[in-house]
């Protein structure tokens, strides 16, 4: 076996893995370690940080203000994940059961946004949702039409159109995050559903179950590994989302990543920013550990 050959030959193994190891060490482990050390340090002057081993930064992070932002970030990320799951599951099912001819195009449609810069996508979305955006213009036209129809049948016209505030609030943040993270949910779900033996679905129908019951009793349980993967892969980046709440959120919609950014930039408090960052990382570790510990669902053959 080729695989065993390179495992047996230590030098080949080293040659293959060393560059990756060095890369990870230099550009991931060392910077993370520096940030980790910062989180136990104190600011001394503008650029100087003393590693004093203090826990003051972590203590400050447990203040109500920061805990509430952590809590809110979790709530937003959880809501985004849930909405992604509710929208993504039928989408993944539709792709799975689409004809061979259509499937690659549908998958392309899901993946296409990935190939566009996040900033550009976010601005495009903002143009859509702004007070002069397409959404509001469309609603205004409908409003005008309804008003005209009312006068036509001899009623008072509707009051003047007021644009709906679709941007710079929590709705905009959730909307934007769902938009950005939907592909993360759809792709693992599709992968799980695609592996599903179609005859299991047919067997369920054959035994008298309708489509809804077949989905709830057969498809969802067997797609559970994909659902868990999709939830994790959506929840974790949504939790650390920075750009979307920054651009689309209002003053009350900041998430934890925005607070961290402010510590490193405006507040110039790197030790506190580092502490907040690591609390976020620990939280994600816990999530991943929980996923690893979950009851193993038998693989679909």
């Amino acid at each position: 076996m080729a695989e065993q050959d390179w495992k047996a030959n230590k030098r080949v193994f080293a040659a293959v893995s060393l560059p990756t190891l060095l890369w990870t060490l230099l550009f991931f482990v060392i910077p993370m370690a520096i940030v980790w050390f910062y989180s136990f340090g104190e600011n001394k002057g503008l650029t100087e940080i003393e590693f004093s081993g203090t826990l003051e930064n972590y203590k400050r992070a447990t203040e109500y203000l920061y805990l509430s932002i952590f809590g809110k970030s979790f709530a937003v990320a959880a809501l985004v994940t849930l909405i992604c799951l509710i929208i993504g599951f039928p989408v993944a099912m539709a792709i799975t059961f689409a004809s061979e001819k259509w499937r690659p195009w549908l998958l392309l449609g899901v993946m296409l946004p990935f190939w566009t810069n996040l900033l550009i996508r976010t601005y495009a979305l903002m143009m859509l949702l702004g007070s002069q955006g397409f959404a509001n213009k469309g609603l205004e036209t409908l409003w005008g039409g309804a008003s005209w129809f009312k006068t036509l049948v001899g009623l008072q016209p509707l009051p003047t159109w007021e644009p709906v505030q679709l941007l710079f609030n929590n709705f905009a943040v959730v909307f934007g995050l769902v938009y950005v993270h939907l592909p993360f949910m759809v792709l693992p779900l599709y992968a799980a559903l695609d592996r599903l033996d179609r005859s299991l679905i047919e067997a369920s129908l054959d035994l008298g179950a309708g489509h809804f019951r077949t989905i709830m009793r057969i498809v969802v349980p067997l797609a559970a590994p994909g659902i868990v993967a999709g939830v994790m892969i959506t929840l974790i980046p949504a939790l650390g989302a920075y750009l979307t709440p920054d651009l689309m959120g209002g003053t009350d919609s900041q998430m934890i990543a925005n607070v961290i950014e402010r510590q490193f930039k405006k507040a110039n408090d790197w030790p506190f920013g580092a502490a907040l960052s690591f609390i976020l990382i620990y939280a994600m570790f816990i999530l991943i550990a929980l996923q690893a510990m979950r009851k193993k669902v038998p693989e679909v053959r």
């Binding site: 067997a203 369920s204 129908l205 054959d206 679909v300």
Partner: protein
């Protein structure tokens, strides 16, 4: 089985199924009788599975009607049809225990807990899986999973049980055992079984009637022995069992006897009439096990042939060019003097029998006058 009422439970009337331009099933009409073990036999891609899936409701006929117990199935989805299916892959739900798998349909139908438990136990006993209730499918062998699939369908007490290649995934020994068990089970529960298979042994051993399907059409519909001994055409003769087929001309055609002159095989005499005009081009099919081998010389063979055929008929000479020893029988590949090849099989009646003939031996052969089959198409 013989005392079962012979009314059709499934009526397939002029059913055609086209995928794009290809007709997978082409104007098929057949009746499946209540209580019989019906087999759809054919090579892969012949449309037999499509036909089965149309009965189950997973495919819809492009044209034609399917009636189950007199009721038109058009527009009736699979979950509302009085049939159940055992899938080729068994489709046992991997996330449910054996008991939950078997109980699935009953629970959907709203049957109460106590009755579900009793019927699950009963169904598992029927397929000899009593005590396996709490097993998970991944702890079971392929044969056991198949029994779970069988129990899961039988518990629904369907009017018809459909089986898609039920034995194809089992090893040879288990397959032979399951052939018997399926036939026995069918006899026991009295439900009509409709099985799809490409394996002629399977079909012959289990079926009460077999429909041979070729290119989407029914080639012949008959009982196992009729199918084997009286194939209606070359496709059936060749597909069911192995056979030697020779082209020839009908030279004698009377109500009680017939003769065919085959350039490859020689003069063939039959002690019964055939349907076909005098001088017609026909084919003669001769099964390998119906040919007697003689060694050496030919006197004995000629005398044996002459017992029920005129001189010079039903007799051939050749040379053994190949042998394959299969344990119970030995197959001989014989080069005839005409240059044609003939396959002959011979039971190994004694433990040293196979030493009688060997490569390059000159042999003569004869067959009885009721052995050849004359085919028109």
């Amino acid at each position: 089985m013989t005392d079962a009422p012979k009314k059709p439970i499934i009526q397939i009337q002029n059913v055609t199924k086209r995928f794009g331009r290809v007709a997978a099933v082409d104007n098929v009409s057949l009746d499946i009788l209540a209580g019989e073990f019906f087999v759809l036999l054919g090579p892969s891609g012949c449309g037999k599975t499509t036909l089965l899936r149309m009965i189950a409701g997973f495919e819809l006929p492009t044209e034609g009607t399917i009636l189950i117990d007199g009721q038109d199935m058009a527009g009736i989805p699979p979950n509302k049809r009085p049939v159940n299916m055992v899938f080729q892959s068994y489709a046992v739900f991997p996330h449910m225990s054996v008991a939950d798998n078997v109980a699935y349909g009953l629970k959907i139908a709203g049957v109460k807990g106590g009755e579900v438990r009793d019927r699950v136990a009963e169904a598992l006993d029927l397929v000899k899986l009593g005590g396996f209730e709490d097993r998970m499918p991944d702890q079971m062998s392929g044969g056991q999973r198949q029994r779970v699939a069988l129990a899961r369908s039988l518990i629904m007490r369907p009017k018809v049980l459909l089986l898609d290649e039920p034995l194809s995934a089992l090893d040879a020994k288990l397959r032979a055992q399951m052939q018997f068990e399926l036939a026995e089970l069918q006899d026991q529960v009295g439900i009509t079984f409709v099985t799809v298979t490409h394996d002629q042994d399977e079909a012959l051993s289990m079926a009460s009637r077999i429909a041979v399907i070729n290119k989407g059409e029914v080639s012949q519909l008959a009982g196992p022995s009729d199918l084997y001994e009286y194939p209606a055409n070359r496709f059936v003769a060749d597909f069911v069992g192995s056979v030697n087929i020779f082209e020839g001309k009908l030279t004698l055609d009377e109500p009680d006897r017939a003769a065919v002159d085959c350039p490859g095989l020689g003069k063939v005499y039959l002690n019964h009439g055939v349907t076909g005009p005098h001088g017609a081009d026909v084919w003669v099919a001769l099964r390998p096990e119906k040919i007697y081998l003689h060694v050496p010389g030919e006197g004995k063979a000629v005398r044996a042939a002459a017992q029920d055929a005129p001189d010079g008929h039903n007799f051939a000479r050749g040379c053994i060019k190949g042998m394959s020893y299969l344990g119970d029988i030995t197959l001989y590949d014989i080069l005839l003097e005409s240059g044609a090849r003939l396959r002959v099989s011979r039971p190994n009646l004694s433990r040293h029998d196979q030493e009688d003939f060997t490569w390059d031996d000159k042999v003569s052969m004869h067959w009885r006058a009721d052995s050849p089959v004359v085919l028109l198409g």
